[in-house]
């Protein structure tokens, strides 16, 4: 017969201070573990949600991002006439010729400079991105020096708010609207009329061509044909893939950083758990002897102490995940190396992260409690009873 679970539980309760200290040490480790996972997940979700699987981005060959790319007007017209481009309700192709450049803006807080994406758009651009909704104000009038700003820009950058003006390309641009793009990369962008922007920046070429596929499964055939066309020097990517590639370097950095930190931290926490469990065993030598004398087997003693360690780990895990869930309120903004521009994303907690963190805390408890539990189960009855 095994020792009842309540024995393990009550032991933890009796030494509340020690339990709390050990569990909070583990909790901090779980917190760091969960927070880095959440950050990587937030980044991934932001960039993946930015793209739509039905949309295709066409860039100049070998350019990694829209900012580096350039598609001449003649090539753009050629791309517009491809049969794979879906036709909108008004009979016009669902295709947008966009121009993307970076401008240097200063943050409201701290005046630090950052590279912000400015996108010259056409009327179809909004149709291609259903996630974007005008929250405040109105759309810029075509042919005027007006822009709309993403929510994250309006909030954090000087001159980005509703009614303010930005100066670039020898002109003042008035912000006439603020748009809500949800958790996508577009909320860190400023949009204006494409033709006006190209004038202001003295550009002859578009940066990228974005269109909706008539038939989503026809992408591979389209890609092969367009990339093989001698008149075109472009490459086509699904929009989801394009934004996934943009996040790769950063996500890898976050993952490696998180892993290294977690390993180092967990050494500390496991040591804490070991100390606690050794003390738990040492304090109860007589008790263990009594249990053995009553007929409980070595196996039962072992499992009771392992259970205690697991419970300790779980307490830490719950504490850590609980604290980490508050991190969802925080938005991080930093430069994405791949696109060289500002990107805002938040910590995102998913069910997968929760159970990974809890599992991690259980493993820490198990590793910390294994040696002390083995020692407890190996005790000689007579010697244990004799100890004071």
């Amino acid at each position: 017969m095994g020792i009842p679970y309540s024995y393990s539980f009550r032991n933890l309760w009796t030494r509340r201070l020690t339990t709390l200290l050990t569990a909070s040490g583990m909790g901090l480790v779980v917190f760091v573990f969960a927070a880095t996972l959440m950050l990587a997940e937030g980044l991934r979700q932001t960039l993946v949600q930015t793209g739509s699987p039905d949309n295709v981005v066409v860039l100049r060959k070998a350019s990694n991002s829209e900012v580096q790319s350039g598609v001449e007007r003649a090539q753009a017209s050629l791309l517009e006439s491809q049969p794979e481009v879906a036709i909108g309700p008004d009979g016009a192709p669902l295709l947008a010729k966009e121009m993307v450049v970076l401008i240097n803006l200063r943050k409201r807080k701290g005046n630090a400079p950052a590279n912000v994406v400015i996108r010259g758009v056409t009327a179809t651009s909004l149709q291609l991105r259903p996630a974007i909704r005008l929250k405040d104000g109105r759309m810029p009038r075509p042919g005027s020096a007006e822009v709309i700003a993403g929510e994250s820009i309006a909030r954090r950058f000087k001159g980005g708010g509703m009614g303010e003006t930005l100066r670039f390309g020898m002109r003042d641009w008035r912000v006439v609207g603020v748009f809500d793009a949800g958790a996508t990369g577009f909320s860190s962008e400023i949009w204006g009329d494409s033709d006006q922007m190209m004038q202001a920046f003295r550009r002859q070429a578009y940066s990228s061509i974005i269109f909706r596929l008539r038939d989503p499964s026809g992408f591979d055939a389209y890609k092969a044909r367009v990339e093989g066309d001698p008149r075109l020097t472009v490459e086509a990517k699904r929009e989801t893939q394009y934004y996934l590639d943009q996040s790769e370097a950063m996500a890898k950095f976050l993952r490696i950083l998180g892993m290294v930190l977690t390993i180092v931290f967990s050494i500390g926490a496991v040591i804490g758990a070991t100390i606690t469990m050794y003390a738990a065993v040492a304090n109860r030598v007589t008790e263990i002897g009594t249990l053995r004398a009553l007929g409980f087997q070595r196996k039962s003693i072992l499992s009771a102490f392992i259970m205690e360690a697991l419970l300790l780990g779980l307490c830490g895990g719950v504490l850590g995940v609980g604290a980490a869930s508050f991190m969802q309120l925080i938005t991080i903004s930093t430069m994405n190396w791949a696109s060289f521009s500002e990107l805002a994303f938040s910590f995102t907690l998913t069910f997968g992260i929760v159970w990974k963190s809890l599992l991690f805390s259980l493993i820490m408890g198990l590793v910390g409690g294994a040696l002390p539990a083995v020692r407890a189960s190996r005790m000689n009855i007579v010697e244990a009873l004799r100890a004071t």
Binding site: L21, V101, N104
Partner: protein, 385 residues
């Protein structure tokens, strides 16, 4: 003396527990030191930037170029000693993951402005004479096994095409902190090719580097340059090299702040572990403390005893951690050479490590000390276990 001996004896009463705590503190201190060094490295580029060099770029943002005709006008500004120019080339060697900086620059004036790139006179001359020549830093050459005379092909991401360069020299950094993962080639090579393939993009420079006589002249010169091009098609922004680098650093600052927070968190974690050890120790010895009090020892003696043990454990761990920092840093320097130009631990970091250990010792000693010092003799003696 007696107290010291007592503290030492106490330390070894629970050998395993003390050792585990010491190791825990050592690991935490080590992690703390390495993280702080990493953050320091992030800012080292800006810290080592020269005061007498200014960077002029397009005011809109870095991706917009400036006409090369600005060169002579900048040269005429009083206080300017020499001017060089170049472009961020953004070429990729074979695969995207082989990232390193590559610039198209005007070689003579550029190397004149950057005396920290050391080449032999022969290599320098070979590079100047060969328009398709390039030079790379020693570290980069070692990474890819390049030798002088090799042909290196880069795939252009900003300037399309396959670009071939002949390696004419391998430069050494004058200081440890000098960036050596870099490839430099002739701006003329880029420009001549652009004239043929994309005339619209030719005759433009991404940046101008301006050398000034003395650091005090920097602000005057940058104002003079920027006002000269005010209200033109390409307005300029001139700042010191340090400010320019700091601009980059501050864009990724959020990540560095996170690492800094984490480096303090590791200390917090170990503080909890150490506090736990001391709390357990004190609880087990409550009876002893009562006995000592009965014998006439005052609360102060007991406080010193407990506090001393706590600080001794932490400092021992701290010393161990500091000692381990050096082999760890040199290992990182050897193994991760492609990410970090150097990885040396500063004296300041070591002092911080030790003070962190001391704080851990002090904080974790507070509660048990209070318990031990204030225990009433009768209660202490009555307590079992």
């Amino acid at each position: 003396m007696f107290m010291l001996k007592y503290i030492l004896r106490n330390l070894f009463r629970h050998k395993l527990r003390s050792i585990l705590t010491v190791v825990g503190v050592a690991v935490a201190v080590l992690a703390f030191g390495l993280l702080r060094t990493l953050v320091g490295l992030w800012y080292s580029g800006a810290e080592h930037a020269s005061d007498t060099r200014l960077v002029t770029r397009n005011a809109i943002s870095l991706i917009f170029p400036l006409p090369i005709s600005y060169l002579e006008r900048i040269r005429g500004v009083p206080g300017v000693t020499s001017v060089s120019y170049g472009n961020w080339f953004g070429g990729v060697y074979i695969e995207e993951k082989n990232f390193f900086a590559n610039y198209a620059v005007e070689p003579r004036s550029y190397l004149n402005l950057y005396p920290e790139f050391i080449l032999t006179p022969k290599e320098q001359n070979d590079f100047f004479l060969d328009r398709k020549g390039c030079i790379v830093g020693e570290r980069l050459a070692r990474t890819y096994g390049w030798k002088v005379g090799d042909l290196i092909t880069l795939k252009g991401t900003i300037f399309p095409g396959q670009w071939e360069f002949a390696l004419r020299g391998i430069f050494r950094g004058a200081e440890k902190a000098t960036e050596e993962r870099m490839l430099l080639f002739h701006w003329n090579y880029l420009n001549e090719s652009l004239r043929q393939t994309m005339p619209r993009r030719a005759d433009q420079a991404g940046f101008f580097i301006i050398g000034v006589k003395k650091p005090e002249a920097a602000s005057e010169v940058s104002l003079a340059v920027d006002s000269m091009f005010k209200n033109s098609l390409a307005e300029t922004l001139t700042e010191t090299e340090r400010a320019f680098q700091m601009g980059f650093v501050s864009m990724t600052e959020a990540i560095m702040v996170a690492i800094q927070i984490v480096s303090y968190m590791v200390i917090a974690i170990i503080m909890v572990v150490a506090a736990n050890t001391m709390a357990m120790t004190a609880r087990e010895r409550i009876g002893e403390y009562a006995t000592l009090k009965t014998l006439g020892f005052k609360a102060g003696h007991l406080a010193g005893l407990i506090f001393g043990e706590s600080v001794a454990i932490s400092l021992l761990g701290g010393l161990l951690g500091v000692a381990a920092t050096f082999p760890a840093a040199s290992w990182i320097e050897a193994e991760l050479a492609q990410y970090f130009p150097y990885f040396s631990v500063s004296v300041e970091t070591m002092l911080l490590e030790l003070s962190a250990a001391l704080i851990v010792g002090v904080v974790s000693g507070i509660f048990p000390t209070w318990r031990g010092a204030t225990i009433r003799i009768a209660d202490g003696l009555k307590r079992i276990g």
